[in-house]
Amino acid sequence: MKVKMLSRNPDSYVRETKLDLQRVPRNYDPTLHPFEVPREYVRALNATKLERVFAKPFLASLDGHRDGVSCLAKHPKSLATVLSGACDGEVRIWNLTKRKCIHTVQAHEGFVRGICTRFCGTSFFTVGDDKTVKQWKMDGPGYGEEEEPLHTILGKTVYTGIDHHWKEAVFATCGQQVDIWDEQRTSPICSMTWGFDSISSVKFNPIETFLLGSCASDRNIVLYDMRQATPLKKVILDMRTNTICWNPMEAFIFTAANEDYNLYTFDMRALDTPVMVHMDHVSAVLDVDYSPTGKDFVSASFDKSIRIFPVDKSRSREVYHTKRMQHVICVKWTSDSKYIMCGSDEMNIRLWKANASEKLGVLTSREKAATDYNQRLKEKFQHHPHIKRISRHRHLPKSIYSQIQEQRIMKEARRRKELNRIKHSKPGSVQRVSEKKKRVVAVVK
């Protein structure tokens, strides 16, 4: 009788090092693993629930300012450093890891209207209500030295905003007009105006760096070309735009934070229709900042909350608020795309996680695989009612909640009225205007 022996190649079951996982042979025969959809559904449900359980986005509050925080700036080289300017003219430099203020400067008399860092991170610029532009060293004065700005430019009018060029020693200020300054000179190398109104904010395009966008109080957004020293185009919206922010990954996309509670994402080549209208806020949107990945942006609102919107969605995916947070004036998304900072009226800067339920710190590979799987499951079953309900559920302060209800009613009423108007007028005489187009008053060439 011949005896057949089982023989296996050790390579198939012996691991190479002791750090390798033991290889477990698996049988993927689908008959052995039935009910795949229900099982995955349950997993997705659990993942969604856990996500809500672990959603604790608030990390820290940086207190020290003695007045409302009016502007924030990121350090271009250091993730841990943040600059903030307050309404009493004080500028503070913070260390996020220690959650402490490391440096304080009394920069201006009156508001610090704008603050921006130089691209190299060695100095920063501030503009204030005292009609000055000041350049400061990032690290404070040496022992015994007086705290003094490197340069001071005395202007004729109040500057309301400042932004630095992304690559060169040029910065732009706005006030009565948009001025482009060389760092070495005391007069602007170029001034651009289009109409006469106070411009509230100016921003350089981070990709095509010669482009600028500004928004003025006569409800317009103006684009400029620095190289040709001309404005390019102007779009007038229904209400005033408070600030704009360029998408750092898509050169021609920017988002405008508007007084009419909405944000508008524009393609700068086609300004007559916004690409997307983002609505969820219940009060004026005061500031907006893109995530460095260009996939989301965060907006700060007068309604005491900040919201995170995906670029391609009109509704926010997240809303952050705390009991003590008042009107949020400025917001920034950190350069590693993990955190969000917001400065608010009640003198605090708050640090939030960009992804509310994300676990911080180093993940093991298995943890990572599990989170990835959960994420994918949530995405897969996102349309299922239970999962949708749980994942969308947010607790909101009563004021916001009631406002939302109210606005819903208002919106519904408006819609009904429009429908009625269409119904009762001659067919074709009343056109339905889409929500996107409705808000754009005109595009001026």
Binding site: L79, S191, R227, D336, D372
Partner: protein
């Protein structure tokens, strides 16, 4: 008018490559068609001439009442009446003076140009500027379209986008700035230097370089073909070698080895005839190999393999054999090769008489083997050998005295021979005692295998020869088999005998003991010794099952014995396997029986069928019976409504659609909608999907690792955006996506443009300067 001019200027602007180079003083409106202007003028003149034919011109003249037209201070009259003053007229008197040549030239240049048109309104111009600039900027931006599109659709985006590009420095650069520090590195460098391997710049050895230079195209081709051929041949050879290596047959390998050895020997012989010097060298080589072998412990049973084999040797025939072979090899290698001489030949002959391959040590070990470490035995045996050598000085002395003149090495050889003989005797003594028993058993059992009988008879003969006085009764059998024995003897006994002898001890010993037992209790019951044998058997082989009937076992034992004597397969295997299989079968049957008994009352299938029938019935639409008993006819106990009436008032339900499980005998499909499940179901088709099947398909493909392979799982759960913690993500750059970024800095462009300061600023600046 203005719009057309604007368009024109727009065109002109577009033609200009560098917008920033545009002059600021409104040159836009000047059209510079020099060629046309002259013709136009002539045409104009003609027209005027024609128009002057009627009286209009006079009237026109009358209108112009200015004196300067008629009489000029330069003494030029406009006699042409309406003819324009042309520059050439002015220039005519200047012709003579050479000092005005430069002015003339300038004027000539001016002459061809038309008058400057009115500048556009400032706002208009600015608008044009803006439009042009906007178009240009849009064009610049549209280069990002593919990048943006790609990033939006990307399965995965990994940030930061700009990877730390590993710079590929040529090895020589790396090496030149690097010193060997560790001994290993130094060694490697030494080797490299020794072989003239280039360490620095040119990465070719001088040889390679020379060959590169030397080879022409044909040569290269030929060389390549050659190399190809060589490679092919090598691959064939490798394939063959692999195939041969795969052959598991030991016999084949043995034959192969032998063949090789023979071949080598033949060649050596040939060489000796043809070229004695070379042969001598060969011999030296062999000698060297021997020396090496003596020095090394390669075949000395000290390796891991040998130790394991030694452990196994007790149970495994093959292991034993392998060990023996190895020792034989050792011996062979250790053997001193004699230069062809009389004595060497003699010795060779003497050795051949004995056992040429197997060192007696091995046999000895096997004989003595008690299951303990054979090493010890080897040492013991050598000890005993020594002891014996010491013990019989006179025996040794005689041959030594006789053969002393011949060579000193012969001494031990002779001693060995003596020893060999002794061992032989001892062995045969052992054998015979066992053999008697075997013979007895064989006699009673009647073996059928002729070969085994042969061997048996041979052994018997041996035993007979040595213990004649003890076993008188076996004489006849002996005589009958003696002839066979003689035949057997002639064969080269070495190979065949050894395994037999090796196999024996275990059994022989048991039989030995049996013999003793028999001697003790020869008058006792015959069953007793057998029982004892069995007992011992059981002790030795725990794999034996007690449950096996004794009769059967005995039979197997006999077969086993035969196996032992005839074939090389280990005895216990054949014994154990069939019984266990049978037992397994029994167990299975038992289990099945048990289950059957336990579930005797249940008829699951019938229950299921019944259930299904009920389900089908329940799902069928019901007929509605509207008959009213006693209505229109007699009613009461025991009276049924008439068939006609029943037929009339019975509303038949329409036949529903066929059940889905109609053709599935083992399944009940519930076709009712489950209200509890509805809460978990998607009601509307979500946005990106256009058909519900698409959506269902995405839901139905599982993504978990339970249903997918590791790789597929990883691929399916790949996150859309990956960021590195603690890394700053910079905005996308043109270099990141392979575009050439504009080399000019924005600043330089701005500075090249003339400053367009607002009026207010200029004023302010002035003020500042005054201050």
């Amino acid at each position: 008018m203005s719009s057309s001019r604007a368009a024109e200027s727009l065109l002109a602007l577009n033609q200009q490559e560098e917008l920033e180079d545009l002059p600021r003083e409104y040159p836009l409106s000047t059209s510079e068609d020099e060629g046309d202007s002259d013709g136009e003028r002539k045409h104009q003149k003609l027209l005027e001439a024609i128009s002057s034919l009627d009286g209009k011109n006079r009237w026109k003249l009358a209108e112009r009442s200015e004196a300067s037209l008629k009489v000029s201070e330069f003494n030029v009259s406009s006699e042409g009446s309406g003819e324009k003053l042309v520059l050439s007229d002015l220039l005519a008197p200047v012709k003579t003076s050479s000092s005005l040549a430069a002015v003339k030239k300038q004027l000539n240049r001016v002459k061809s140009k038309k008058t400057v048109e009115l500048p556009l309104h400032r706002e208009e111009i600015e608008r044009i500027h803006r439009e042009v600039a906007f178009n240009k900027t849009s064009q610049v931006l549209s280069k990002w379209d593919p990048v943006v599109q790609k990033n939006r659709q990307a399965e995965q985006l990994v940030f930061p986008l700009s990877k730390q590009q590993s710079i590929f420095a040529p090895i020589e650069h790396v090496v030149s700035g690097w010193k060997a520090r560790t001994p290993l590195e130094q060694e490697i460098f030494n080797l490299l230097h020794k072989n003239k391997q280039p360490v620095t710049d040119p990465l070719l050895t001088p040889m390679e370089k020379a060959s590169l230079k030397a080879m022409s195209l044909e040569e290269v081709k030929m060389r390549r073909a050659e190399l190809q051929r060589a490679r092919a041949l090598q691959s064939y050879y490798e394939a063959r070698a692999r195939r041969e290596k795969k052959i598991k047959s030991k016999k084949y390998h043995k034959l192969l080895k032998k063949g090789k050895a023979k071949q080598a020997l033949k060649e050596f012989e040939k060489l000796r005839k043809v070229n004695p010097a070379a042969a001598l060298e060969e011999l030296e080589k062999l000698e060297k190999a021997r020396m090496m072998e003596r020095m090394s412990l390669k075949h000395q049973n000290s390796g891991k393999w040998a130790k394991s084999k030694a452990l196994m040797a007790k149970y495994d025939l093959e292991a034993r054999q392998a060990m023996q072979e190895q020792l034989a090899r050792n011996k062979e290698l250790m053997q001193k090769i004699q230069v062809a001489s009389e004595s060497a030949e003699e010795e060779g002959g003497a050795e051949e008489e004995g056992e040429p391959f197997v060192p007696d040590v091995v046999n000895e070990v096997q004989v003595k083997a008690d299951g303990a470490n054979p090493w010890m035995f080897r040492n013991h045996s050598s000890d005993t050998k020594e002891a014996e050598v010491q013990g019989d000085p006179e025996e040794l002395a005689e041959p030594a005295a006789q053969e002393a003149p011949e060579s000193e090495e012969e001494g031990p050889v002779v001693a060995e021979e003596i020893l060999l003989k002794e061992f032989e005797e001892r062995r045969s003594l052992r054998q015979k005692s066992g053999l008697n028993q075997i013979a007895k058993l064989v006699g009673s059992q009647e073996t059928k295998d002729p070969s085994s009988q042969e061997v048996l008879s041979e052994l018997r003969a041996l035993s007979q020869k040595l213990n004649r006085e003890n076993h008188q009764s076996r004489k006849q059998e002996l005589s009958s088999t003696r002839t066979v024995l003689v035949v057997q003897r002639e064969e080269p006994a070495g190979e065949e005998e050894e395994p037999l002898l090796l196999q024996r001890p275990e059994r022989a010993r048991t039989l030995d003991e049996l013999e003793e037992l028999g001697k003790e209790g020869c008058f006792q019951n015959k069953e007793l010794p057998r029982a004892a044998v069995e007992g011992q058997q059981l002790e030795r082989n725990p794999s034996n099952h007690l449950g096996v009937p004794r009769e059967k076992k005995r039979k197997e034992q006999m077969i086993d014995l035969q196996n032992l004597l005839t074939t090389k397969s280990p005895s216990m295997k054949s014994l154990a396997v069939p019984t266990t299989v049978e037992e397994l079968e029994d167990e299975e049957r038992d289990q099945r029986q048990m289950i059957k008994e336990a579930f005797a009352g249940d008829d699951v299938i019938r229950d299921f069928l019944k259930e299904k029938r009920e389900a089908v019935e329940a799902s069928k639409p019901k007929d509605v019976d509207l008959t009213l008993p006693g209505w229109g006819e007699w009613g009461g106990v025991g009276l049924k409504p008439s068939a006609k009436k029943r037929r009339r008032f019975l509303i038949k339900a329409p036949e529903g659609p066929p059940r889905k499980d109609k053709n599935l005998p083992n399944v009940i499909l519930n076709e009712k909608r489950n209200i509890h499940a509805v809460a978990h179901q998607v009601r509307m088709l979500p946005y990106p999907f256009t058909h519900h099947q698409q959506f269902e398909r995405t839901i139905q493909t599982p993504i978990g690792s339970t249903w997918n392979t590791q790789r597929a799982f990883q691929k399916l759960t790949m996150p859309k955006v990956v960021t590195k913690p603690g890394h700053i993500i910079k905005p996308i750059k043109a270099e990141d996506v392979g575009y050439r970024s504009s080399s000019r800095s924005d600043l330089s462009v701005v500075q090249r443009n003339p400053k367009r300061l607002s009026v207010r600023h200029k004023k302010q600046l002035k003020k500042n300067s005054v201050d």
